[in-house]
């Protein structure tokens, strides 16, 4: 699939995905940003770009992915509200892990990434997956210039957090 194709699909399907995700979160009374779910959906659609020909309509596939994303978010949200996970999160906090697992690179990385805003995380993810700046912009409903600024900010911030954690 050509890059231009993905951009067009992303732009045309974006409003429909927004409606779908928003109505789902409203009905489930879940305080979750629909835009975030749409970004995740379009990222997954991009990851499946080579298989798009298997589906008659890219829009139908996007809707199918969006439903998967919504269910994933719902499940994740339920898990986060379980007391066991709260306890786990507390253990994973800054002070605790500095003494216990200071040299655990994996933990340092995941904690650092978790401190980034979700949109920044996803933009880094999109870039790491190989999406072009223009494609990321189309997915995030942003201009290429602001996308570049956000990715730059995200990388610098992540670097800063990693440095602090490592020292």
């Amino acid at each position: 699939m050509e890059s231009q194709d993905f951009q067009n699909i992303a732009i045309s399907v974006h409003p429909k995905l927004m409606n779908l995700c928003r109505s789902f979160f409203n009905r489930q009374e879940l305080a979750y940003d629909a835009e975030d779910a749409v970004q995740e959906t379009l990222l997954r659609l991009w990851q499946m770009r080579d298989r798009l020909s298997e589906y008659q309509k890219p829009e139908a596939l996007a809707m199918l992915i969006a439903k998967n994303v919504c269910i994933d978010i719902l499940k994740l949200n339920k898990e986060q509200h379980e007391p066991l996970d709260e306890a786990r999160n507390i253990i994973g906090n800054v002070q605790a892990d500095q003494s216990m697992i200071a040299h655990d690179t994996e933990r340092i990385i995941s904690n650092a990434v978790a401190r980034l805003p979700r949109t920044q995380q996803r933009m880094l993810m999109m870039r790491a997956e190989g999406m072009s700046m223009v494609e990321i912009a189309a997915t995030c409903n942003a201009t290429p210039t602001s996308t570049k600024t956000m990715i730059c900010a995200a990388r610098k911030k992540l670097m800063e957090i990693l440095k602090i954690r490592r020292d």
Binding site: M125, G130, M159
Partner: protein, 184 residues
């Protein structure tokens, strides 16, 4: 093509990467270099390697599941059924309210008619007949309905006005004097 093994060029590329100005190809070069770089690394390289590692870990595959899509549809339907039931409840309530209103409203005028029936001419004549014993000449009679009979107010030119309460008998054919207020 940038020589990634040249530390100065690599630093420049790393700077470009942080400013989000690198091409996809340049980013791949950096990633390849750091994933295969051997220890020990300069501190700046160590930072970059950690950053590349962190962004790499962000990406990952996913499994597209029809079951999840079905679960989504089920949850959405469940939600809409709920709202349909709510809507149905409102409709039932509204219909019940209308039925009550239709059933109840005609009863009230009937009650009112019972409470304040009109005074028929024969009743009025009978009332005058009863009051003829108490009234004097040139008596003015004003009759008005009350619960189960009517009130008659009388006034004559030389006496103060008096009031009488007359009640209909249960058979409805005659009336009787219930009480009277005579002003002196």
């Amino acid at each position: 093509m940038t020589n990634i093994y040249d530390i100065t060029k690599r630093r420049q590329l790393a700077e470009k990467y942080l400013n989000a100005e690198t091409s996809a190809e340049e980013e791949r070069m950096l990633r390849d270099f750091y994933s295969h770089a051997e220890e020990p690394l300069a501190p700046e390289d160590e930072d970059m390697r950690l950053l590349m590692d962190a962004t790499d870990r962000l990406s990952g595959g996913f499994v597209l599941s029809d079951e999840k899509a079905e679960e989504f549809d089920r949850l959405m339907q469940k939600g809409s059924k709920k709202s349909k039931i709510v809507a149905l409840r409102w409709i039932v309530s509204a219909v019940a309210a209308i039925i009550c209103a239709v059933l109840f409203l005609p009863v009230r005028p009937t009650d009112n008619a019972k409470e304040q029936p009109e005074i028929s001419t024969s009743e009025l004549l009978e009332a005058i007949n009863i009051l003829s014993d108490v009234g004097g000449d040139n008596m003015t009679i004003t009759a008005s309905s009350c619960n189960d009979g009517f009130i008659i107010k009388t006034s004559t030119s030389n006496e103060p006005p008096s009031s009488y309460i007359l009640r209909r008998c249960s058979d409805g054919t005659s009336i009787e004097l219930k009480s009277q207020v005579i002003n002196f």
